[in-house]
């Protein structure tokens, strides 16, 4: 291509040498490319792979860090029985995640639609304020939550956990959905108004179906956030509403960690979230940056 004019100027002898050189150079480039690609894949997948295989190891195979071993399901049996009892913890995480989503998503859709389609006083300030609450360090709000929930009897309750999760999920999903609604052309909505549709009707029958991908994306993001949430659950949940992440903490304990049990619990914690994240891979980057990068 671009080498063509240069190649034409060199003598025939050099040409033969050049093509051989180029072949070797290409080969090295190709090999280097695939080695780098292999390293990238290893970097991305190795920790997941290692936890996944450790989950099926016996203690002796963990101690030798071996790749070849006889797999066992004993670790899963252990974490699903006393004292770890993972089944109710999975249920707790599901309840908290689902309730958070059920409250956050409809409210976020309404709020995002209002911000995107209407103008009102203090709109920019409101947007910035919502963003600021999203970036608030959890440790700042955990002290007041702990104190108030103790007074209200909300420690170790689903209500308490849903409330704290809303404080993280709601601002995030408002911004995310606003991004989706902003990209919709307003012409369709205007046509519906001309056809005599009222405001609620436009939102329900025109906008809502069009932002389904956005709603699905924010639902999954919200669920992953609630599922993976650590500090709030660590302090506000104990016996009755302990989530899987806190189950992971109990499995690890304070000293003498049984790593194969940690890995089994870890596999249960991460696999559903990886699948969920994979299902929205098209919108993942946009979601993570709240629409700053499309």
């Amino acid at each position: 291509m671009s080498q063509a004019p240069i190649a034409r100027t060199v003598s025939t002898e050099n040409k033969a040498g050049n093509s051989e050189n180029r072949f070797i150079k290409n080969f090295i480039n190709q090999t280097g490319y695939y080695i780098a690609l292999g390293l990238t894949v290893a970097f991305v997948l190795f920790p997941i792979f290692w936890i996944a295989i450790t989950a099926f190891k016996q203690s002796i195979d963990v101690q030798s860090a071996s790749l070849f071993f006889t797999p066992t399901l004993q670790n899963f049996r252990t974490i699903f029985s006393h004292p770890f009892n993972f089944a109710p913890l999975i249920y707790n995480s599901m309840v908290v995640g689902v309730l958070t989503v059920l409250i956050a998503i409809p409210l976020a859709v309404m709020c995002a639609y209002a911000i995107s389609r209407y103008t009102f006083i203090g709109q920019d300030f409101l947007l910035i304020a919502i963003l600021a609450t999203q970036f608030l360090p959890p440790v700042v709000v955990i002290l007041p939550y702990f104190i108030q929930f103790r007074n209200l009897g909300l420690l170790d309750s689903y209500t308490g956990l849903v409330i704290v999760n809303l404080s993280r999920v709601l601002p995030f999903t408002i911004w995310l959905l606003k991004g989706f609604i902003d990209t919709l052309p307003t012409e369709i909505e205007e046509a519906a108004y001309i056809d005599g549709c009222n405001e609620l009707g436009v939102l329900r029958h025109v906008t809502f179906p069009l932002i389904m991908p956005g709603i699905a994306t924010s639902t999954i993001f919200a669920f992953i956030m609630a599922w993976n949430e650590f500090l709030f659950a660590l302090i506000l949940s104990s016996t009755k509403t302990k989530t899987v992440i806190i189950g992971l903490v109990s499995v690890v304990g304070e000293q003498g960690v049984v790593w194969e049990l940690m890995s089994a619990a870890g596999l249960i914690v991460m696999v559903p979230m990886i699948i969920l994240a994979f299902s929205i891979r098209k919108y993942f980057v946009e979601g993570m940056t709240m629409g700053a990068v499309k």
């Binding site: 309404m110 902003d182 993976n228 890995s263």
Partner: protein, 290 residues
């Protein structure tokens, strides 16, 4: 559009819940930061003591240490994540079949909970049988004696690695999105003019990526500045206080020493620090629309 009150009907429920779940606790923490309250001694808040908690913070060596650790951690994490993300993006930029297969894998690490990331890397760094420790000992025999998480600098470094593992691939995806919009003819033309690969990168690729580098640096800084999960699951702030971030320090003051007043004042300082970053980020977000 007509002037109706419908917009407020849409706005108010979400804003009420936001106010109750975020504004109220912040206000509560703010008020508490001016009071004395050791919750183990008394179930109700003590008297107002003015700025005493704040004065205490600024003369507290542990606070300054936590601030230093947090800054070092943030700079290290952001630098590594953006650098590595850029490298991965440049590698996957060529649209080969292999790169199309690799791209979707890049979101996997981010979906893994931070707490689990922390435990996993702690496990892989255990001196006798941790797999990363073994690999490193084989590659660099002189580190064989090193217990990574017991060394002040390396503990902080390794604490940033799980976060970098989650972010770098995601940052690569963001870069790839932007790189996809450069037409190949620009590179061809520059090559014909005799530009080196480095010049291509410096004059074409990098300027194009600059807005995303700004966004990612801000976003990643915000996440690093409030790091708690990895400290709790990897090092518990140790060795000594070498990995005690501001977030973790506040947690220990509040929930190990039950000093709610002092913890609140530290929390307010952290919130102010973070809101500066949030403000910058929102300017980038809002600025992009206009």
């Amino acid at each position: 559009m007509q002037k109706t009150y419908f917009r407020y009907v849409l706005l108010v429920p979400a804003l009420l819940i936001l106010a109750a779940t975020t504004i109220y606790p912040i206000a509560f923490a703010f008020v508490l930061s001016f009071r004395e309250w050791k919750i183990a001694k008394s179930p109700t808040p003590g008297p107002f003591i003015g700025f005493e908690n704040y004065q205490r913070a600024f003369s507290d060596a542990n606070f300054w240490n936590a601030l230093k650790v947090t800054s070092m951690y943030t700079v290290m994490g952001v630098g590594l994540a953006v650098g590595l993300g850029l490298a991965i993006a440049l590698l996957l930029q060529k649209p080969t079949r292999a790169s199309r297969i690799v791209k979707p894998l890049l979101i996997f690490p981010f979906a893994v909970s931070l707490a689990l990331k922390g435990y996993s890397f702690r496990f892989m760094l255990v001196p006798e049988f941790g797999v990363l420790d073994r690999i490193l000992d084989t590659l660099f025999p002189f580190v064989a004696e090193l217990n990574w998480l017991a060394h002040p600098f390396w503990a902080l470094f390794w604490m940033s690695v799980p976060e970098v593992w989650g972010w770098a691939p995601l940052i690569a995806l963001m870069f790839l999105g932007a790189l996809g919009s450069i037409s190949p003819e620009i590179f061809e033309a520059a090559k014909v003019d005799g530009a080196t690969n480095f010049e291509l990168f410096w004059h074409i690729t990098l300027p194009l990526l600059r807005p995303i580098i700004v966004i990612v640096t801000l976003l990643k800084s915000i996440f690093s500045l409030r790091m708690f999960d990895l400290v709790r699951t990897m090092t518990a702030g140790g060795p000594g206080r070498a990995t005690e971030t501001l977030n973790y320090y506040i947690y220990t003051v509040g929930f190990n020493f039950f000093d709610m007043g002092y913890a609140s004042s530290l929390a307010v300082i952290l919130a102010v620090l973070l809101s500066l970053f949030a403000l910058l980020y929102s300017r980038v977000l809002l600025g992009g629309e206009k």
